[in-house]
Symmetry: C2
Subunit: 338 residues, 2 copies
DNA sequence: GTGAAAGCGCTAACAA
DNA sequence: TTGTTAGCGCTTTCAC
């Protein structure tokens, strides 16, 4: 609050004003062992008077920066904002500060640049990085990975129940009489079989369930391009096929928004069942009213942050948190007309 | 890309491997003057071989961290994501990295913690901080402030045309026959008269325009609480008044979503005109179809980042960028029934 | 063109 | 309990 001018106040200034050593000041600000109440008081007075704030750079060079990094592939994706909120709340009240690092293009660079001494630990949502590379990163700095179904040894993971969630959607649609169910998902790179990304698992589950139901030949998969709006194009494409689907299972709510948009724009609102994933606030909006799977994004973000804090406290064996997935049925999943 | 294990590689390691001094390596990585092509090549080879990455902390301690900080009050606000995207794109291709700092509660802390040596410059969206305090911050570190109508001397500003945008909305509603027009805005703290925040200006403009039109006694102002969904409660409250409005001017699109939700939930969709502000992607969605003001959020974010980069290049006189505001008419602004 | 050396602000041994 | 001291990894004069 106190207003400082010109060159910034260093620990030496505080020491001088308080008439103690720099080490003493350091101990006070870290709540370290071995300071008399009298000294603590003097030092704190000096800190207040001078408006001293420790330099993160200097601290980081010596030990910790008290910063946690959260790497995010798409800052505007609704699910990401849930994660961010959750992480933010879990970090509040600790001595740590959360910083977000939006990835532009390949996530390696963003993660590296976080690891370059800016933060003490990293939460990452990076579908595209190589597990082995991540293991290595985890050796240099504590890492929690969101949304990866592999079983790493060098970092923690937080995942949703993508199999359960997808099965719940499919069962629901079958119950409504749908058979020609299409899946509209992310671009190929993010859904590579075996990659363990949420969308790869959802896609695989969709395939499995359709096959189990004897509907293997009705499997239809479409992908949106990387631009959000192109979910509409993909939808238009699906609907123009000779045997168009009666239901579209979108990879997540943002995609579902594009699906709904295209259907509404062609005047067929309510004629085709649509489902999303993530149960974002939009899904609950009466004008959208989207059936979706709630996988507790905020809780996932909060858990990730908590696990990272545990690692900073010394835990080394890997942990995994799996969020539950519950289907939230709303108006968009209409009964099949056929 | 190269995989490093254990303790991280320092500039000394590179120097040793390349058989040169640490200073030489430093010059190479900074593209500084005075390195022979031969040496540069040797050093770069060593860097590649060892997978060396300079420590941000150490660099920051001596000079720059090559990080730009963007402070954000609400990470999930749609307008914020426009800003983030714009800033991200403007920074891409420069040697700088963008980091986002979500504010939790009072923005002072977040801004201070950015200024504590983490970043070389700050973009802030902080309606609630004191201008004098900001001037002081601007003396310590380059600052660009988004959405403030004051005329600072020590930092740059990026603002929208809140007067023009609001006038455009009001004129449009008058043309549609509306007289009982209510304004649903943010909590009091953010709209204090004279504070120069966008929402204060929009509110004041609303008042002015109503008064100019001789409708001063029809002025109705409601506020949402800080939780997003409470825009619905405020709407319910407005509609329950003895003389309910025929049109509701929402402070921004997220609020408008709440208004639309409440109206739809009570089965009166299309009976009351609703307008938003920011022209977020939701506004364009066919199921929402919200009349809104486009103030080019991405461009604002990009301009802010560019101006900050200019300051880091040495500019010291303050600059201001004002985005244009254009009304985007859509279906939600229905004609007055009265 | 190249390298030696000082020091940025802080923390962590260790001495006193 | 308190202070002294030696760096953390890097940049930056300033000699060579």
């Amino acid at each position: 609050m106190s207003i400082t001018k010109g060159r910034s106040v260093t620990i030496s200034d505080v020491a001088q004003t308080a008439g103690v050593s720099r080490a003493a000041v350091s101990k006070v600000i870290r709540n370290a062992y071995g300071v008399s109440p009298a000294m603590r008081e003097r030092v704190e007075a000096a800190i207040g008077e001078l408006g001293y704030r420790p330099s993160v750079a200097a601290r980081a060079l010596r030990g910790s920066s008290y910063r946690l990094g959260l790497e995010i592939p798409h800052v505007s994706a609704r699910f990401m904002t849930q994660i961010m909120e959750g992480a933010k709340q879990a970090v509040a009240g600790t001595p740590y500060q959360l910083v977000l690092a939006p990835a532009h293009g390949p996530e390696y660079d963003t993660l590296e640049s976080l690891a370059d001494g800016l933060v003490d630990g990293i939460i990452a949502i990076s579908p595209l990085v190589d597990p082995a590379w991540l293991e290595d990163l985890g050796r240099r700095i504590p890492v929690v990975m969101l949304g990866r179904h592999d079983h790493p040894t060098g970092y923690d993971t937080v995942v949703g129940d993508d199999i359960g969630g997808t099965r719940a959607i499919m069962t629901h649609l079958f119950d409504l009489g749908h058979r020609r169910i299409a899946h509209l998902t992310e671009p190929e790179a993010v859904t590579r079989p075996g990659s363990g990304t949420p969308h790869a698992v959802r896609l695989e589950t969709y395939r499995t369930v359709m096959t189990e139901a004897g509907l293997a030949d009705l499997i239809q998969i479409a992908r949106r391009e990387d631009v959000p709006d192109l979910a509409r194009a993909a939808t238009a494409d699906l609907l123009a096929r000779p045997e168009p689907p009666t239901a579209i299972v979108a990879g997540h709510d943002d995609i579902a928004m594009g699906v709904l948009a295209e259907i509404a724009a062609t005047g067929r609102h309510g004629e085709i069942a649509v489902t999303g994933y993530d149960n974002t606030d939009l899904a609950a909006h009466p004008l959208i009213d989207l059936t979706s799977v709630d996988q507790q994004g905020m809780e996932m973000g909060a858990q990730a942050a908590t696990m990272l804090l545990e690692r900073l406290q010394g835990r080394t064996e890997p942990r995994r948190y799996r969020a539950t997935a519950t289907l939230q049925v709303r108006g968009s999943s209409v009964r099949s007309a056929g």
